[in-house]
């Protein structure tokens, strides 16, 4: 559908974050973060609680204004073209909800319209089926289990057939069976549509399975990045989980990856 997107810059980087810094008063949540994401990649943002993962995603979505640095998504500057970008991406999080006093379908109708879909009946049916919650169609959103809610959030996130999907702990409240199914669906969609995903998770097995690349954050800095296999090997850990724990406990021992030299950021 959006194979013809021409807005991407010369490289196939669909997201470029450049020296992104966010301070909340004296607290530095993000400290000169730079990275790129290629079209079709699944990027995992990892790191201990408070590392800055959610803040980074919210900056990319324009919910939080960076203190300094720039973010380009599909070649467009987030600060200036937020709405153009928002029409082509979507977000789902375990920490947001859809109005509990509307039915599942009503909620999806409202959001379909917000994304410019006038009659979205078929699309909604397809998505509900895809995430296996078609039986909740007429139920009040507030009456769903947290796993069903998570999947409803994902349905909402796919309404506009996004090019980039931001996910903040999308599988946090799913049982292992459903979590596995959701991962399969996401991977299918990624393969079929060349969907790019940027997501956070505390489930390291999931990350190993899903992500082409991961970025480890600790106190707002990148401490390690690469493919899961690469960084496990590099750090001589047994698993991503071991590495995570090592970084969480001794983050200061890991040298901050500074990729500024080899990747000059476009002047903004």
């Amino acid at each position: 559908m959006h194979q013809d997107s021409t807005n991407t810059t010369g490289t196939d980087a669909i997201t470029e974050v450049c020296r992104l810094t966010k301070r909340f008063n004296s607290l530095t949540a993000l400290d000169s973060l730079s990275f790129k994401v290629c079209r079709g990649d699944i990027l995992g943002l990892l790191g201990p609680n408070g590392a800055g993962k959610t803040t980074a995603i919210h900056c990319m979505l324009g919910l939080v204004t960076p203190t300094s640095g720039s973010i380009r998504i599909m070649g467009l500057d987030v600060a200036r073209h937020r709405r153009n970008i928002l029409a082509r991406v979507n977000f789902s999080s375990a920490y947001t909800a859809l109005p509990s006093n509307l039915t599942v379908r009503e909620n999806l109708i409202v959001f379909a319209r917000l994304y410019g879909l006038k009659s979205a009946r078929d699309r909604i049916d397809t998505l509900l089926e895809l995430f296996e919650i078609e039986e909740t169609n007429d139920r009040l959103t507030g009456s769903l289990s947290s796993g069903q809610l998570t999947r409803l959030n994902l349905c909402k996130a796919f309404l506009n057939d996004p090019e980039i999907l931001f996910l903040d702990e999308p599988t946090a409240s799913l049982d292992p069976d459903i979590a596995a199914k959701v991962r399969e669906r996401l991977q299918e969609l990624q393969r079929q549509r060349g969907l790019t995903m940027i997501y956070t998770s505390h489930n390291m097995q999931e990350v190993e399975q899903m992500c082409d690349r991961v970025i480890f954050l600790a106190t707002g800095r990148i401490v390690m990045q690469g493919s899961p296999a690469e960084i496990i090997k590099q750090s001589q850990s047994r698993s991503l989980e071991d590495l995570f724990i090592a970084i969480a406990r001794n983050g200061h021992l890991y040298q901050t990856v500074d990729n500024h030299e080899d990747e000059p950021c476009g002047s903004e």
Partner: protein, 261 residues
Amino acid sequence: MWLRISAIVMRFFFLHRRSVARVMEIFFWPVMNLLVWGFVTSYLKELAVPKTVLFLIGAVILWDVLYRSQQGITLAITEEFWVKNIINIFISPISIGEFLAAICVVGLIKSVVTTIVLGFLAFFFYSFNLLSAGPGLVLFLGNLLLFGWAVGLFTMALIFRYGRAAEALIWGVPFLIQPISAVFYPVSVLPAWLQKIAYLLPSTYVFEGMRQVLATGVVDVSILGISFGLNLVYLFLGSLYFSWMLCKVREMGYLSRLHLE
């Protein structure tokens, strides 16, 4: 654009279609208010006080237009916070202008419905004819509606900034305005310094105008013009303040944290 605006309006339609409590809110309080004041008025009439007591009924009805209009839009925003939906809306491609337009429409619908109901009740119970103001009535109602939106913009901005702590303002702010707007009595009973402030509020002109119509049957278009002018100023300032607050809120990251509070 219309699609996005209609989306938000629909969202409130879906909500009210099912919620008895919310529909009651449009009818119950206004009707109760009208009944109490209506009977006070009937009683005063028996005491052979001049017919000017009819002002009270007019005041109750018109006050509710302002009140519902302000409530309509502030509650709409607060609702999104309550249900943790605000982030979903802010990451959709709706512009803040479209969102405000949509909730103003919601406010408008609520006000219109309430006014019609009260108008009928007042006519049947107290033979008070709201339509006696003629086409000028639209000017009265319109100005109150606009001022309700302007006040709503300020209240919403504060709710964005201060979250839960500011929620009392939703109901508080209108009652700050009420005594100064000379709703139930003429401006002349206010102390001189307060009169000056009263004339800074668009609502004051409307209530003064209403008393004039009821007493003389003449609509003074010029004071309604002043009211309209002031409204434009307040709406402009309100939008400015709201946009500025939204910038601040994005800087402080409150959009992502409000739902946690």
